[in-house]
């Protein structure tokens, strides 16, 4: 043990390192969230927090539950693939409280051209009109019923 004759300062240094390491472990256990690392190098609870955010668009099924008559008309026309909220906007609040949250009436002269105004980049088979010359500014629902837009189909 001759070589370790004056080694006391080394043990003191080791003790300082050990205390530092323990402090590091204690501080780390407070700073790193509990769910960190459950699936990977991230906080697993963030997944559930994002999943718990509220929705604005209720989804087509929610509309069908109450407005089956209009969905029936729509399903027979060319707009059968268009979801209700595509035109009417987000209605989750209306689904939650149908009595007091009443969806606004839509202005077809603004709404319809978003899809049906002529544009060179649109697919060639898609029905497009130049609204200015097609209707002269009249609202589209003067002639077309939006839920089944072919003339004379009697939709609403």
């Amino acid at each position: 043990m001759k070589n370790f004759k004056d080694a006391a300062h080394l043990f003191r240094l080791a003790a300082v390192f050990l205390v530092g390491f323990v402090v590091f472990l204690v501080v780390r256990s407070f700073l790193v969230p509990r769910s960190f690392g459950r699936y990977g190098h991230y906080r697993a609870n963030a997944i559930a927090e994002i999943a718990a955010l509220p929705i604005s668009y209720a989804g087509h099924q929610a509309c069908t539950d109450c407005h089956s008559d209009i969905v029936e008309v729509k399903s027979k026309g060319v707009h059968k693939g268009v979801a209700c909220e595509s035109c009417h906007g987000p209605e989750a609040a209306h689904v939650q409280d149908p009595g007091s949250v009443i969806p606004a009436k839509l202005d077809t002269s603004l709404l319809c051209p978003r899809c049906h105004e002529v544009n060179i980049a649109k697919p060639k088979g898609f029905p497009q009109v130049e609204t200015a010359e097609h209707s002269g500014g009249a609202a589209c629902n003067t002639c077309h019923q939006p839920h089944s837009p072919a003339i004379g189909t009697g939709g609403n």
Partner: protein, 243 residues
Amino acid sequence: MDITRRRLLILLPAAAVAWKYVLAGTPEAAPNYHMSEHWWAMLIDIPKCIGCGSCVRACQLENHVPDGYFRTWVERYHVDDWQMEYPKVDSPDGGKEGFPASKETGGKNFFVPKLCNHCADSPCTQVCPVGATFITPDGVVLVDQSYCLGCRYCIQACPYGCRFLNPETKTANKCTLCYHRITKGLTTACCEVCPTGARQLANLKDPNDPIHEFLKTHSVQVLKPYMATGAKCFYAGLDGSVR
């Protein structure tokens, strides 16, 4: 009730297990949803896109995206036959209010909807220094808003330009593939409102998902395949000029 030594010894392990869950604070948002049964992707059928901008508006309303920033947007391409390498691209306000009449005539013209590709090997998650962005076990790239430092590293790393710094929260923000909707059995807001079905959410782990039939019978492509990001937005009818 007296706490005997026997009772205490029985209670302690139970309390330890309960305390672990208290600390983890697992918020169970969707009890019937199992991450292991899903691997999310999106199918974008370019010949069906009419550039109406419904998806962009719906995304902003659903996810409260600030004006001037986009989690999804639509680009209009104009490609002359003789210079495919130099397409003219415009996207006024992300295509949110549709597209004005084009000045171009002739050539090839089409719309390309874009969003986060939810890459299986995403560059953005690899560069995050704090583990604030990650891919979930069901294949959605998300940002932990309470953990993000706002260093913008991921914004530079994304080869598709799909990320931005939210000016309100000063944290990185991006498409969540409407994770709060798809875990509740709904489709994404953009797919919900798309009037022509140009965008479709797909679960690659579900053998009955219509995407499998589509992928078998159509030629599909991902954006920038040479980046080897494992992108999961599959584009049908994608022109070679699209970047």
